[in-house]
Symmetry: C2
DNA sequence: TCTATGTCTTAACGCGCGTAAAGTTTTTAT
DNA sequence: ATAAAAACTTTACGCGCGTTAAGACATAGA
């Protein structure tokens, strides 16, 4: 097995001219079946692969796709990233995954580095409130970008995410239908714009149903939501600051902390008789099934959000970075009934 | 602000010759302070960055570092990846993160793609039992690689991980000291070699202490450990297959499932009087603090494992891919006492 | 001031591949 | 069978930068 240095050499060994071989690697269907067969035959014998740097230097558009999520230690994003990666690979692209780890500077650095990779496109789930709008806007002007999960008004060629109103209305209506209307438990200054939309949806739904909204805001910064939810819940529960016997958490990770606090304080959570509190939430986090009790929550339509995100990006790429208009696609939630409410 | 096309142009604008500018980007300290100042001054005015593809084509060694983990949806790996990424950036490298998502084919594909990136080095946490040994061996022959988290005998230039014996001996000794010696709860065919070492350590420690080991093996494949632990625990607990009032789970994710099952069955877990079962585990998963009850576990020395991994890789890179001999570094665990045992 | 050393400039080649033009061969259609 | 179309080969240039060699220049030490 000889080591092949470059395409010239491989072309010679396969008995095909280099430009034709080059054409083959760009699109195997663009050459005659007989020559394709000859190339692929040689390919098996010699195991040659074009130098990606030389290739990418000479193509104005690479086959790279950047995937950026705000916080990869959150399994929600890890899962969605997995789906996105696989979709990209299936479509013949090379996905590169980055996490902003909750930091603006890192998000900016990632976009910076991404730009010099000349990616065909980028799937970006921005940090949200703490994102550097100007930096992202500048990036989007140069690179075809689809925003997902959390929207930044007007940025990117399109946005694909979940319909926060659908989440909250389903959970609130369910809890109201089966018991007392819930209070809303959230962070005081949420990092994510979805959180704000959920609060607004909560207020709207409560008012529509003729109930007075109760919002419990807990302190805490960053992405350690479980910790924040736990600490906040301990405080609220110990101070008896809870006006209702049912609570809707803004998201599952806060709820995980909330439930842990309830457990520690001996508060029975659930919908059975011996329980004094019902807790529901939003997201259907991968771990929501294993909380104690298991968490009733509104599930993201993972598949559709991820699927539509990549579809939109591919469309964008084929249209050379321009879409007719910026679309915002929102998928509704699916209520998942478990034991906590 | 003019758009700069290439180094030639930037060199002209900065009043320095291109070769010198090239030298500067390779190592800013390799040029005279005055010229360095002139370049950096121009750099601020014109915002130019070398084309990474052209750069990487002409350097035999890039500044890229591959980070490969077996399953990114596990926050443990997400956390360690974060640390590794940051260390690489701090050292002036460009980390690229990949997850094998529990699949051998994907692991192989990732290594394949990585190889054509000509990375300076790779930090690889292999899938373990289902890894393609031959493929990894071939890869390691060409690319400076440090294995971490799970060891494959003889592969890679070095291994850095945790000392499974230390984990298990601490948890077993603690449980034995404070109550009944534990049974060991694990998957029948664990994906990870660490699991086998933990079982062996359990048996060894139990025998040393003069107790008979009890091993509970539950069925299940893949990386959905919580699910597997939950289902397995339900079965064991319902069938009253538990011989002891204390259980040591092979890892935290199994324990999360185990605790959920206990909760559902009304079994009180903990070390207080009204509890009938104690559960401990290994890893100190990011969520272990929020289980119900919170999980007593042996913590990885994250910082040291990650830190030593990158240190070793950098050393390896500086030695041009060769180390004197393959070292295996194991860091001991730290027992974290919480409420479950 | 002069020399030795270090740093810079100029000129030029190479990396591996994309791509275009012109000519040749093969395939398809009539 | 023949003409038209399609695919191929040859030749050659360009991409942006690494790198080298020769010579010009600047800096430091005496």
């Amino acid at each position: 097995m000889t080591k092949i240095k470059n395409m010239e050499e491989f072309a010679a060994l396969s008995g095909i001219s280099r430009p034709t071989v080059s054409k083959y690697f760009h699109d195997p269907d663009s050459v005659r079946p007989t020559t394709r067969a000859r190339i692929e035959e040689a390919l098996e014998r010699f195991d040659y692969r074009p130098n990606i740097y030389a290739v990418n230097q000479n193509r104005k558009l690479t086959k790279n796709i950047g995937i950026v999520v705000p916080y990869l230690a959150d399994p929600f994003f890890a899962e969605i990233a997995r789906y996105l990666e696989q979709s990209c690979i299936a479509a013949g692209y090379r996905p590169f995954l980055f996490s902003s780890h909750g930091e603006q500077k890192l998000e900016n650095d990632i976009l910076d580095g991404l730009q010099s990779m000349k990616p065909a496109g980028v799937l970006l789930a921005p940090l949200g409130r703490i994102s550097d709008r100007a930096a992202i806007e500048k990036f989007c002007a140069d690179v075809p970008t689809v925003l997902f999960d959390s929207n930044l008004d007007g940025l990117g060629a399109a946005f694909v995410g979940s319909d926060n109103f659908s989440f909250v209305s389903q959970t609130v209506e369910y809890m109201t239908r089966t018991g007392e209307p819930p209070s809303f438990f959230e962070m005081r200054t949420p990092a994510n714009p979805n959180a704000n939309r959920r609060r607004k949806a909560y207020v709207a739904v409560m008012e529509r149903l003729g109930f007075e909204p109760h919002i419990i805001k807990v302190d805490g910064k960053g992405w350690a939501f479980e910790e924040i939810g736990h600490r906040g819940a301990m405080k609220v529960l110990e101070e008896r600051g809870l006006k209702t016997d049912s609570v809707l958490c803004s998201n599952d990770r806060l709820a995980i902390g909330f439930l842990a606090a309830c457990f520690e304080l001996g508060i029975r959570v659930g919908r059975t008789d011996e329980c004094t509190l019902r807790v529901a939430s939003n997201d259907d986090h991968p771990f929501a099934k294993f909380t104690c009790p298991s968490l009733t929550t509104a599930a993201h339509d993972y598949d559709n959000v991820a699927g539509r995100s990549v579809e939109t990006l591919f469309e964008l790429i084929e249209n050379e970075g321009k879409l007719n208009s910026r679309t915002e696609t929102l998928f509704p939630a699916r209520l998942v009934l478990r034991d906590s409410a």
